[in-house]
Structure formats: structure tokens, C-alpha cells
């Protein structure tokens, strides 16, 4: 009748479904709250929290007590099916206080691979389609200092530098991954009076296929 429930008759079937539901509910509670307690309070939440927590769970509970081991098994089975029903606290508890405009790459020697003017020319700062899909920099991985985020930024910068160099037929030896940032104004402040500043999100060589720095 249902996808995963074999047609066990009557009471046995109800018992099987109830048992599944119990394990599922406990795992959900544990996933959502057990791990929150395990997370360092000063850790800046990012949009990558979901899969970061998966690692934390595996790291923290491996080899621990029976019930935890059992639930870890369930979480891992669920992970096998891509965390199908596990939804952790997704909303960052601190909202973004920095506005980010434009992400681009430059030849490290000073010759621009992507046009720096687009940073100032348009409202969206010349964001590419891929950039848009990455999410909102203020609470996304581009603002995080974690090694994972650094690795992702490097991969992203490397790809864009390659595409831009290929389109323009230029050689390159390295790239800086930049963005323009400024604090979001407080009530009563004039937003236009707050200056933008350039921030380097990642810099490094992109000419080789070696894993970029920051990978773990």
C-alpha cells in the first residue's frame, strides 16, 4: 500500500508503522535539538549549517551509547537518501548586517579578468546567474570563515576566472575573489552616506588543477 511498508496485515502492520514513526520522531527531535546543544554558541550560522551539522553528528556521537548509536544509524540511513526528512534550524539567528554587492575576480598581476566596473555600474553589481544561485552573501557561505566556505569560494573563483579568461583569450596566473561590502544602515541613518569597501573573499593561484588553499 505504501512505498516502504510491506503489506503486513492488521495489528502487526499498525505496530510496524508506529515503530517507524517513533524512531523517526525521536531522530527528528534529536537532529533538531540535540545537535543545537552540541554546537558552539559563538559559531556563526550559515546557510551551510544543514550539512555541517551532519558532520558534527557523525563526529560527536560515533562510538557513544546504544540509543545514540541506533539513532546515528537512522540518521545515516536517512543521509543515504539525502537527509530526506531531516530539517534543522535553517534560519540564522542573527540576521545579516552587511550588504554585499558584486562578486568578481581579478588577475593577480593587476589585469582585470572580470570587469571591475560592473561592481559599481548596476544595482545587482553584475552578479552572474551562478552567483545568484549561490544565495545571499550576508548569511551564506561567502561570509563564513570556515575552511569549507573558503574551499567553496576558491572553487567558485577558479571557475569564473577560467571562464572569463577563456572568453577573453587571456592568460592568468591567479585570482582574487572580491566583493563590495558595507554595513546595513540603522533606523534614521542615510544608507547612501555609508561607503562601500572592497573585501577579498579569497585569493590564490588558479592556473593549476591543484586543490585550492583552504580545502580540508
Amino acid at each position: 500500500m505504501y512505498v516502504f511498508v510491506v503489506p503486513i496485515p492488521g495489528r502487526a502492520r499498525r505496530f510496524a508503522i508506529t515503530a517507524f514513526a517513533a524512531v523517526h520522531v525521536i531522530a527528528l527531535l534529536w537532529w533538531n535539538f540535540g545537535m543545537v546543544q552540541l554546537r558552539p554558541r559563538d559559531q556563526e550560522p550559515t546557510q551551510g549549517d544543514g550539512w555541517t551539522r551532519m558532520h558534527e553528528v557523525a563526529d560527536v556521537v560515533d562510538g557513544s551509547g546504544n540509543i545514540r548509536g541506533f539513532l546515528t544509524g537512522y540518521v545515516r540511513v536517512a543521509a543515504l537518501f539525502q537527509q530526506w526528512v531531516l530539517f534543522g534550524p535553517n534560519a540564522p539567528h542573527e540576521t545579516g548586517r552587511i550588504e554585499v554587492r558584486g562578486i568578481t575576480g581579478f588577475d593577480i598581476a593587476g589585469q582585470p579578468i572580470l570587469d571591475p566596473d560592473v561592481l559599481h555600474a548596476t544595482e545587482d553589481g553584475g552578479l552572474t546567474d551562478e552567483t545568484q544561485m549561490i544565495g545571499n552573501p550576508p548569511c551564506g557561505w561567502s561570509r563564513s570563515d570556515s575552511s569549507r566556505a573558503t574551499f567553496l569560494r576558491a572553487s567558485y573563483a577558479k571557475f569564473h576566472a577560467s571562464v572569463a579568461a577563456e572568453e577573453r583569450g587571456v592568460e592568468y596566473i591567479g585570482v582574487q575573489f572580491l566583493c563590495m561590502v558595507r554595513p546595513i544602515h540603522q533606523p534614521g541613518e542615510d544608507p547612501e552616506a555609508i561607503e562601500w569597501r572592497t573585501e577579498v573573499l579569497w585569493a590564490g593561484p588558479v592556473a593549476s588543477n591543484a586543490a585550492p588553499s583552504g580545502a580540508r
Binding site: 500500500m1 505504501y2 512505498v3 499498525r14 508503522i17 508506529t18 514513526a21 527528528l28 533538531n32 535539538f33 543545537v36 550560522p45 546557510q47 551551510g48 544543514g50 550539512w51 551532519m54 558532520h55 557523525a58 545515516r76 543515504l80 537518501f81 539525502q82 537527509q83 530526506w84 526528512v85 530539517f87 534550524p89 535553517n90 534560519a91 540564522p92 539567528h93 542573527e94 540576521t95 545579516g96 548586517r97 550588504e99 544595482e123 546567474d129 551562478e130 544561485m133 549561490i134 544565495g135 545571499n136 550576508p138 557561505w141 569549507r148 574551499f151 567553496l152 572553487s155 567558485y156 577558479k158 571557475f159 546595513i184 544602515h185 533606523p187 534614521g188 544608507p191 586543490a211 580545502a215
Partner: protein
């Protein structure tokens, strides 16, 4: 006693229609999510993109698995996304509902594992809602599968008997919805922005999120105190949501505030599918009766507006093609506009309830004009 209560609560019958409506909404969104990724298949999901498969695998737990770990050609990835989008569309329409949904789920989840850096909350919610819908026979109502079943059954058992299901998948979904709010509420509770009442301000004053930043920004300062109140309402509503659900009044209040909050997010902020997906989940708290009441009222209004008299089809039950036509009409006639009368030996004919004969071409024209879109596919 407890066992009896549990049996009623967890295994009691439930009207499928609200979940069928949820299936249609979630299906549309999942279809869009899969098809829109075709445009970035190379950049976001292929080995030619910015996160090669081996790098993505190195980032993830080894238990994670994705079809796209084994397929790395951009064209093949795009083709697979197209298949996923097609299956999601079938799921939406309710044709081969469950197998189509399973394929769409596997492909959707595979995109999430292949590159989790391009996801936001709505991606996770869409995947999870789709999973719960796969546990339910949500294709039993408002679907092509349901129409086909009715045609096979000769149009019997229709209208008066809504499709039913066991409650347990809905209970799990309700628990998950409540947990989403509780978990995000607790997470927000630890943040200073929500206690200070500034969270909404920073969300709306940020051009990245704000849909009407240029229009709204000048007036934001003047409504800052209102935003502070709304921020606190949002925090406490999320924290209280799960505990209000068991009580009818609490449920109504919590869902009403949710409509307001998510409606506001939908209008004011650029967070594409988050609001619609959460609102769709509210259908799991809605009874089939309330949707039925709304639907019946709409039907009556439509019937009164368009049809002064019912159409009568007389046919010979021994005539295979005429009987088939009558069965299809019975199955599709949600409006109760057509009466099919089997009479041995008569020639197939159409008339109004008053007895006035109606030419077949005119009768078929009237039927096509009023049956839902799906009816047009069959006539």
C-alpha cells in the same frame, strides 16, 4: 483505551483532497526547481563547473549519494534534470503519481547532494514535503490517476464518497511542520536581533532580501517601532506554534498568523518559494470538509451561472462506445451537470432535462465548455 485513541488518531480515515491540493502546489514548485537548474547544469552540477564531483564528495559525508556523482557530462545532467522536471510535472497532474514522484524526488535530492552550496531553505523544505507526499496516496483525488480509476469503475463511487487515506503520514507531516517552526524559533531565540526587535528591520533594509527596497526604504525608519513589534510576534509565534496545534482555537490562531507572516514575506521579500511551501504545508491541518464546502459552493455558483438545465444522455448499455462515453462523463462531471440514463435498445441521444432535444455537436460543445481543463483532454 489508549490503544483505541491511538488507532483513531494515527490510523483513522482522512480525506485525501487537502493533500491532493498540496501535491499540486509542491509539484509545481519542484518542477520549476528542477527545470531552472538546467540553465546552470554546467556551472553548478558538472565536473566542468566550479565544484567538481570529487571535490563535492570530499566535502560531504561518505553516506551521501547522488546520481550526479556518476554523471558528469553537462548535457547528460541537463537531460536528467529534464526527466526529473517531467516526472515532477506528472506528479503534479497526478499521472502515475507515486512512481513519477519517486523519480522526481531522487533527482531533486541528487542535485542537493551534488552541490549543497547553491541551496536555500526552500530547497530542503520542497524535498521534505515531497518525501511525505510520497508516503500518502495523494494521487487518489484531483488527479488523472483518479479520473482513470473512475473511468475503469464506470463512474461509480464519485462525488458522494471522497477518497480516504490513513492519517499517519499526515500526522508525521504535521509533526514536521511544527518542528520546523519550533527549531527555527529556538534558533532565533538565541539571537540578539529578535529580542531587540531589529531582525525585521535588517531583513527589509537589506536590498538583497527586500523586494521593494527603493520604495520601502524611505518609510522604513518611520515604521521601525511597528517592525520591532512584528519581530517579537514572529519569534513568539514560531516558538508557540507547535504547542498551539493540538487545540482547535490555537490551531486557527497559529495558522492565521502564519498566513499573515508568510504572505508578508512573499510580498515584501525576495525569498522565492519559502513562503508558498510553508503555506502549502498548512493544508495538512485543513479538513477535507472545509475544502469540500468551498468546492461545492463554487460548483453551485458555476452551475447556476452557466447552466439552467441539466443535460441528459440516453444510451443503450449494450453499446460499448456509448457506455464508455457515459462512464467518462460520469467520471469527469464534477459539476453534476449531466445525467446519464441507460435504456436498452435506444439510440444515443442528448436532451435537456425539460425534454427538449439537443443536437450532439451542441451537447458536446456545452460539455467541453464547462468541464474542467482536464475534461478537454478526454473529449
Amino acid at each position: 483505551m489508549i490503544a483505541a485513541w491511538w488507532r483513531r488518531f494515527f490510523f483513522g480515515p482522512r480525506d485525501v483532497r487537502p493533500l491532493a491540493l498540496m501535491r499540486i502546489g509542491v509539484g509545481v514548485i519542484v518542477t520549476w526547481m528542477l527545470l531552472e537548474r538546467i540553465a546552470v547544469a554546467r556551472a553548478a552540477l558538472s565536473d566542468e563547473g566550479w565544484l567538481p564531483s570529487d571535490a563535492a564528495e570530499a566535502l560531504m559525508d561518505p553516506w551521501h549519494w547522488s546520481i550526479f556523482h556518476t554523471i558528469d557530462q553537462p548535457m547528460a545532467i541537463a537531460a536528467l534534470l529534464l526527466v526529473g522536471g517531467g516526472c515532477a510535472l506528472l506528479f503534479t497532474a497526478g499521472l502515475f503519481t507515486r512512481p513519477a514522484g519517486v523519480v522526481a524526488f531522487v533527482i531533486l535530492a541528487s542535485t542537493h547532494v551534488r552541490n549543497p552550496a547553491v541551496l536555500y531553505g526552500a530547497d530542503s523544505v520542497a524535498r521534505i514535503w515531497l518525501f511525505y507526499l510520497l508516503l500518502m496516496p495523494c494521487g487518489r483525488a484531483w488527479s488523472i490517476d483518479a479520473i482513470r480509476a473512475r473511468i475503469r469503475g464506470g463512474g461509480r463511487a464519485f462525488r458522494e464518497q471522497p477518497a480516504l487515506m490513513e492519517s499517519w503520514p499526515v500526522r508525521l507531516l504535521q509533526f514536521q511542520v511544527a518542528l520546523v517552526y519550533l527549531a527555527t524559533g529556538v534558533s532565533k531565540f538565541y539571537g540578539a536581533d529578535y529580542h531587540e526587535g531589529t531582525a525585521l528591520w535588517f531583513a527589509l533594509a537589506n536590498p538583497t532580501y527586500s523586494r521593494f527596497y527603493l520604495v520601502a526604504e524611505p518609510v522604513l525608519s518611520s515604521v521601525a517601532p511597528v517592525l520591532a513589534v512584528l519581530t517579537l510576534v514572529t519569534l513568539w509565534w514560531e516558538l508557540a506554534f507547535a504547542f498551539m496545534m493540538p487545540f482547535r482555537l490555537g490551531r486557527r490562531v497559529a495558522l492565521s498568523i502564519g498566513l499573515f507572516v508568510h504572505g508578508g514575506i512573499l510580498v515584501a521579500m525576495q525569498i522565492q518559494f519559502w513562503g508558498p511551501l510553508m503555506l502549502l504545508s498548512y493544508l495538512s491541518f485543513v479538513s477535507g470538509r472545509s475544502i469540500h464546502r468551498f468546492w461545492i459552493r463554487h460548483l453551485r455558483e458555476t452551475r447556476d451561472k452557466r447552466w439552467s438545465q441539466r443535460l441528459v444522455l440516453r444510451f443503450d448499455p449494450g453499446d460499448g462506445s456509448a457506455e464508455s462515453l457515459a462512464a467518462r462523463l460520469q467520471a469527469l462531471d464534477s459539476f453534476g451537470l449531466i445525467r446519464c440514463v441507460p435504456e436498452a435498445g435506444v439510440e444515443t441521444s442528448w436532451s435537456l432535462a425539460s425534454g427538449e432535444a439537443v443536437p450532439e455537436s451542441e451537447a458536446r460543445g456545452r460539455v467541453r465548455g464547462v468541464l474542467p481543463l482536464i475534461g478537454r483532454l478526454f473529449f
